[in-house]
Amino acid sequence: MNTGIPIQYFLVLATIMFFTGVYGFLTRRNLITILMSVELILNSVNINFLAFNRFLYPHKLEGMFFSLFVIAVAASEAAVAIAIIINIYRRFTTINVEDVNEMKF
């Protein structure tokens, strides 16, 4: 069906995307960009699921449905996160993650 493209390509692509997201999570200072990195991570996982489903196990739809639900969860997660970020902004007047460290040690 998907002639010529080995599944590994998809997996590698997803992995790269995943760790790019991780990199973003670890380095970006803005809370919203961190949230964006999280979206990258979730997306890469979806690619994985779909690739597996399509290439290896097309007799069931588990991968696809999983992706579907991941998207839904991601949406709700993003909603709550953004609500909190806005609250943070109101409290701290900044959304720089490095400044949000009242509690430590």
């Binding site: 991780v22 999570f25 670890l26 380095t27 961190i34 993650v97 490095e98 949000v100 460290n101 009242e102 509690m103 430590k104 040690f105």
Partner: protein
């Protein structure tokens, strides 16, 4: 077979008295408690005499030998299957003899104390302690087994401690009592180790089994060798160490002169007549083992005795405190007894030394107690211990003077007083065995006469010093004991010890050997003569002599610096170089380690607080790296 089981009351009665006086003494009138104590002792004195009579004259002999009779025995503590500590009464010639000695002297001292201690605070306490001592000492001599002996050995030590420290508010008395206890305790350690080794080898504590020449204990011989000496020799040397301590032999003699801080009756009873001869008694008690299994140990006994007697005699010549002179004299005399045992053999005439030793023990008890009690009477009269502050007392204290003179003559070995006989037997025994030791003892005999008469002349003659109060003779309670003991000193020499107390219980023939007796009397007289010249009147000879032998004198006066040596060892080495470092080590190293564990934990906790930085991204970083590291670890490194 005569029933001797009543003898258990001989030690038990003083014990009950002790309990009574100890618990209720302060509620009784002092006089009453004194009477209780003395009365109790009178009863047991009578009992002892009866026992002695029955034992020596009516009991059945087997093959002409006095038997060891176990009159009473109960198991007090079962240790192993074979080893058990018994408490009981063992009657044999020496224990019966000791009964007589102890009860006699003790009774005299009790009576004497009624006068001497009158009005002292703690009168009842004094009698309680005396009762305790009598109990312990009687228990010691009547012991049926070596462990019982050790038990009472410790108890006499404690009674001695309590009595030396009777004037507990006097720092010197406290020091002296402490010293006495610790020194003897150290020696007792040897005793205990000796007991342990002995019992390990022989599997018994029992004297009858141990000392039966045909018994298993002796039959097994010396046992394996350890560091050149047989195990039995080692054990006997260790046991003897206990005797050395209790009998104040060199090098454990240092406590005895200090012990004179105690009330004088105590010095007479404990530190002259009874307790200090316990060491001699111990060796005598174990004598068959020494003789058969550990002759090398016996030699040690002889040499220690000889050296101590010489050493102490030399010091005695320089001391000025009358009680200290007597104390060194005691050491010297006990040295004699030790030597006599050391040169003795077992059985028959070979056992002359043994007999002589016991004989001398007996006579010494009488005259030395007399001397001490006399000294007490003097001190009572003039309130000082120093003979330099005395002189010309013969006018004031006639009875004391006479009895003291008798005692001095006795100890100097002038016939026909008792000291002559016993000392002569010892010299004879030494003469036959070891000429070197004989020579030493011969010199000591002269020295003894010299220092005793130095004492005598300085006190009763010489220049009359000024006294605050006119000295007056002591009350009858004090003089009667003096007279009784003086009579004893004069006549006890005629008791036929060779028929009563011998190494194997059998009679053997002795006679006065003139080849020994005459020179010994002569040297005694020589000593008296020198003392007469030097101290009869005030003279400068003594000072000149002291100046000539400056260093010797100084050393002897300072008791050859033994006290200082001991102080150095205890204060410097034990305290400064062991205890304090141990304490420091414990606080700083051992405890420090424990604290260090705690503080390291704390500081690690402080160090790693950076991980909890409050930075979300650092958290995430740790999270991610943690996951990756775990993955690497379990996929590639530790599969």
């Amino acid at each position: 077979m005569i029933n001797f089981s009543y003898t258990i009351w001989i030690p038990l009665l003083p014990f009950l008295l002790f309990i009574l006086l100890g618990l209720a003494g302060h509620k009784l009138k002092p006089k009453l408690s004194g009477l209780f104590g003395t009365g109790g002792l009178a009863i047991i004195t009578i009992l002892s005499y009866i026992t002695a009579y029955k034992y020596f004259f009516t009991s059945e002999k087997i093959e002409g030998a006095y038997q060891k009779i176990s009159a009473f025995n109960i198991t007090w503590l079962q240790l192993t299957d074979k080893l058990h500590i018994d408490l009981g009464v063992l009657l044999d010639p020496i224990s019966v003899m000791m009964l007589v000695v102890i009860t006699t002297v003790s009774l005299m001292v009790h009576i004497y104390s009624l006068g001497y201690m009158k009005g002292e605070k703690g009168f009842e306490r004094f009698f309680a302690f005396l009762s305790l001592f009598s109990f312990s000492m009687l228990g010691l001599v009547l012991a049926t087994n070596i462990f019982q002996m050790y038990i009472f050995w410790e108890l006499v030590g404690v009674s001695s401690f309590l009595l030396i420290g009777f004037y507990y508010q006097k720092p010197s008395a406290v020091r002296a009592s402490k010293k006495a206890f610790i020194v003897t305790r150290f020696a007792d350690l040897g005793f205990l180790i000796g007991i342990l080794i002995l019992s390990f080898n022989t599997k018994t504590f029992d004297f009858i089994t141990l000392t039966d020449p045909a018994g298993s204990a002796i039959a097994q011989g010396g046992g394996i060798a350890f560091m050149g000496l047989s195990v039995m020799t080692w054990s006997m040397i260790f046991v003897f160490m206990g005797g050395v301590g209790k009998s104040a032999m060199f090098p454990f003699h240092i406590w005895l002169p200090d012990a004179m801080e105690g009330p004088t009756p105590v010095s007479a009873l404990i530190h002259a007549a009874t307790m200090v001869v316990a060491g001699v008694y111990l060796v005598a008690r174990m004598f068959p083992i020494y003789a058969f299994s550990a002759p090398a140990a016996l030699e040690v006994v002889a040499y220690v005795g000889a050296f101590s007697s010489l050493f102490a005699a030399v010091i005695a010549c320089t001391q000025t405190d009358i009680k200290r002179v007597l104390a060194y004299s005691t050491i010297s005399q006990i040295g004699y007894m030790m030597l006599a045992l050391g040169v003795s053999g077992y059985g028959g005439h070979e056992g002359l030394g043994y007999m002589a030793s016991m004989f001398h023990l007996f006579t010494h008890a009488m005259f030395k107690a007399l001397l001490f009690l006399g000294a007490g009477a003097i001190i009572h009269a003039v309130h000082t211990n120093h003979m330099t502050e005395m002189g010309g007392l013969r006018k004031y204290l006639p009875i004391t003077h006479m009895t003291f003179l008798i005692a001095c003559l006795t100890i100097a070995g002038i016939p026909p007083l008792s000291g002559f006989f016993s000392k002569d037997e010892i010299l004879a025994a030494a003469f036959h065995n070891n000429k070197l030791l004989f020579a030493v003892e011969y010199i000591v005999a002269g020295l003894t006469a010299f220092y005793m008469f130095r004492l005598y002349f300085s006190i009763f003659w010489g220049k009359e010093t000024h006294y605050h109060h006119t000295p007056h003779e002591a009350p009858a309670t004090m003089t009667i004991p003096l007279i009784v003991l003086a009579i004893g000193s004069v006549f006890t020499g005629f008791i036929p010890f060779n028929e009563l107390v011998t190494s194997d219980g059998k009679v053997f023939e002795t006679e006065i050997e003139l080849i020994v007796a005459i020179p010994s009397v002569l040297i005694g007289l020589l000593g008296i003569g020198i003392a007469f010249v030097m101290y009869r009147k005030e003279s400068e000879i003594s000072d000149k002599l002291a100046a000539i032998f400056k260093y010797t004198y100084k050393w002897a006066y300072n008791k050859f610096y033994m006290d200082e040596l001991y102080l150095f060892v205890t204060k410097k080495i034990i305290f400064r170089y062991i205890s304090e470092p141990v304490a420091w080590f414990d606080r700083h190293i051992v405890d420090g380690t424990m604290n260090a564990i705690a503080s390291v934990t704390q500081s690690v906790s402080l160090r790693i607080k950076g991980f909890q930085s409050g930075q979300l991204q650092k958290y995430a970083f740790v999270f991610v790296t943690g996951a990756i590291m775990l993955a690497i670890l379990f996929i590639y490194l530790w599969k």
